[in-house]
């Protein structure tokens, strides 16, 4: 059980600013997902908390006490990496037991057996315990590597894109599984990804990073419905939010440069006429690619709507979000 607090944490690598005065509180028991593109500072944040790197400025506290002087082992965190590395010569059981057999811990064998069985159950790999690690599929190997973090009861779990090397179906399964594991263990989990679906579906809170700065922190719903900037608005939502000149539909507040319209926030049938450029039938939804005054707009419609390329149709925004010249949201 642990609350993690970052205060003004900065980190540079030569001339590159990896993290720029990040302040954030990860509540005890939370599932916080750090979201951002490559180079935003997500992994650096994890490595600083784990103690694999030291910050240039700022403080990191776990459970109310600064851990900057603690070694990684003393911080008592468990980290899962993107590239799972299991011991190929050991069975799944021995791979899972390995962290507990550390001489420093002196865990009794009966206790190890109990823990391994419990974690294997949670991860649905009980039937594979006696297999060699190399005889597993990619998804099973990643579950074992997550399991190796779970057998210990650290104060905090840190996970760095643990699902990114898996195929789409398995990722979907493990998303549900990780959420369930988190709910049943009730431990603090800090998770890094560039996959917006993972962030939206699993997080209790999302922290959005942009070039080393934490630009918004809130529940998935807050981030989706009231983004603080155009950058944040473009991080969540598929298809991506439409960014158009503020005055294109009229009614923009003064000073607005851009209007952001989520594809599902466009009402068809009245308003300004646009041309249908392309119709994508994805089965559960149909995406309309429209063109209005030389700007591309994507909207969603009923799967069986009879639109085709070349049609003209009228559209009106609802729940429009306005942004100023700097890309900041205007209320």
């Amino acid at each position: 059980m642990a609350e993690v607090v970052l205060r003004g944490v900065s980190k540079r690598y030569g001339a590159t600013v990896a993290l720029d005065e990040v302040t954030m509180t990860v509540a005890d028991g939370a599932f916080v997902v750090l979201l951002g593109p490559t180079g935003a500072g997500k992994t650096t944040t994890l490595r600083l908390i784990a103690g694999l790197e030291a910050p240039d400025a700022g403080d990191i506290a776990i459970d109310g006490r600064s851990v900057l002087r603690d070694t990684p082992a003393e911080r008592d965190v468990a980290m899962v990496f993107q590239q799972y590395s299991l011991y190929p010569h050991l069975s799944v059981r021995d791979n899972l037991a390995f962290p507990l057999r550390s001489p420093a811990l002196r865990t009794p064998e009966a206790e190890i057996a109990r823990k391994v069985a419990e974690v294997a159950e949670v991860l649905h790999i009980s039937h594979k315990l006696d297999n060699k690690a190399t005889a597993l599929s990619g998804g099973e190997m990643q579950r074992v590597s997550i399991g190796r973090a779970l057998v210990r009861t650290p104060r905090l779990y840190l996970m760095d894109e643990p699902l990114s090397s898996l195929d789409a179906k398995l990722r979907a399964d493990l998303r549900v599984e990780l959420t369930r594991i988190h709910a049943s263990l009730g431990r603090t989990l800090l998770y890094v990804t560039h996959d917006q679906i993972e962030a939206m579906t699993m997080a209790t809170e999302i922290g959005v990073l942009d070039q080393g700065r934490l630009v918004q922190f809130g529940t998935p719903r807050e981030i989706y419905e009231s983004p603080v900037s155009l950058y944040v608005a473009a991080r969540l939502g598929q298809p991506r939010i439409n960014a158009l000149p503020a005055g294109i539909f009229g009614g923009a507040p003064s000073g607005a440069k851009t209007v952001g319209l989520r594809p599902e926030h466009i009402r068809l049938g009245e308003g300004r006429a646009a041309e249908v450029v392309r119709v994508e039938r994805l089965g559960d939804q149909t995406r309309l690619h429209l063109r209005l005054d030389g700007h591309d707009i994507v909207t969603l419609t009923d799967p069986h709507a009879a639109y085709q390329a070349g049609d003209r149709l009228a559209l009106t925004p609802r729940n429009a979000l306005y942004f100023d010249a700097a890309g900041n949201r205007m209320s």
Partner: protein, 365 residues
């Protein structure tokens, strides 16, 4: 411009059959997808169309001519591979010009066509740059340029976006499709990504274990799957399967699962045995009063919608519902299903039972 007809095409490698008697037709100007998991025979099929593999039996017709035994060079097609190889010592212009130069075209024509292709692809300003310093996307554009410049009858593409990262792939997919819409050349495209196939294709062939499972428009394949394999492979999350045992008469409009009558489109055939009630996540609704009960296991927020995982007496299923509707893990809820969209499958064979929904699609499939 080309129409491609595949008739009873088969390919064996020793005792292994890669493709078993496939038949389908690609209309002139179509963007046509060969979709399936790895090892399903889609690349082998493409390579037989290209002339890179000789079929064991069957026919390949391009523009009314049977070309199954002709070498690739006589088929007037352009192939774009997943791993595109550019000539590293040449600049962009010379890479694109290469196919024309090697055909001995006049310099003025080469110049004109390279300029035209560069304009279509939006890479005019990088023509004199070496290919070494280009980004992955720009390199892929140059590779495309080299295929387009010959003005072939058709393009064959083998997972051309497979090596790109997710965000950029989406962008390139749109670009490729827009390019096709401008040029109108027949394109056959191999992918294992169902979303890519749905997004880009005019028609899709779904393959599995060397067999064509279904052939049709994206919407038909999604709405009216011919087999459980197709129903599961297409859609994210895929179609839900509620397994049950029973007997139904021709004309029946409901089936009985766990003592509840659930609606189906009027069946055209009777059936007795193990069946599967197939329903897409967006056609499952939570309704307090409904008699068919389930327990909420998980809810995944996705913006305007959420995916709810439910435990039913007939197995685990997923529903896509508005995100403002309440669904808490542990809760008991009632479920209703949009009967008109349901597909019933014979569990043994995995094939859809004919009904008012899929009658037209299955009969010519």
């Amino acid at each position: 411009m080309a129409e491609i007809v595949i008739r009873n095409l088969r390919k064996e490698y020793g005792s292994f059959t890669a493709v078993q008697s496939s038949s389908f037709k690609i209309e002139d100007g179509e963007f046509f997808m060969l979709l399936g998991p790895s090892g399903c025979g889609k690349t082998t099929t493409l390579r037989m169309i290209a002339g890179l593999e000789i079929p064991t039996s069957g026919e390949v017709w391009i523009d009314g001519e049977e070309v199954g035994r002709k070498p690739a060079s006589q088929r007037d097609i352009a192939f774009v591979f997943q791993m595109f190889a550019l000539y590293p010592h040449m600049n962009v212009r010379r890479n694109i010009a290469y196919p024309l130069v090697s055909e001995g075209r006049p310099r003025a024509e080469v110049k004109r066509r390279v300029a035209e292709v560069a304009r279509i692809l939006g890479i005019e300003e990088m023509l004199d740059r070496p290919v070494g310093g280009l980004s992955g996307g720009d390199r892929q554009r140059v590779a495309l340029g080299r295929a387009i410049v010959r003005n072939p009858k058709c393009f064959l593409m083998d997972e051309p976006l497979g090596a790109l990262d997710a965000e950029f792939r989406e962008h390139m997919a749109e670009e490729l499709r827009a390019l096709h819409d401008r040029m109108g050349a027949t394109t056959v495209y191999v992918t294992h990504d169902q979303l890519e196939a749905m997004q880009m294709g005019d028609k899709i062939v779904v393959m599995n274990h060397g067999v064509v499972e279904q052939f049709g428009t994206p919407q038909d394949i999604y709405d009216k799957p011919a087999t459980m394999f197709v129903a599961d492979f297409i859609g994210a999350p895929p179609m839900n399967f509620l397994r049950f045992h029973g007997a139904v008469e021709a004309g029946a409009t409901e089936v009985h699962l766990h003592h509840h009558a659930l609606p189906v489109p009027a069946l055209r055939v009777p059936f007795d045995g193990d069946m599967v009630y197939g329903v897409r996540p967006e056609h499952v609704h939570l309704s307090d009063g409904a008699g068919y009960r389930a327990e909420v296991l998980a809810a995944e927020y996705l913006g305007t919608t959420q995916i709810v995982t439910l435990a039913t007496a007939n197995g685990e299923i997923k529903a896509r519902i508005p995100s403002d509707q309440r669904a808490r893990p542990g809760e008991s809820v009632g479920l209703t299903f949009d009967g008109a969209t349901v597909t019933l499958f014979d569990r043994q064979s995995g094939r859809a039972l004919r009904s008012d929904l899929n009658e037209g699609v299955l009969s010519h499939g």
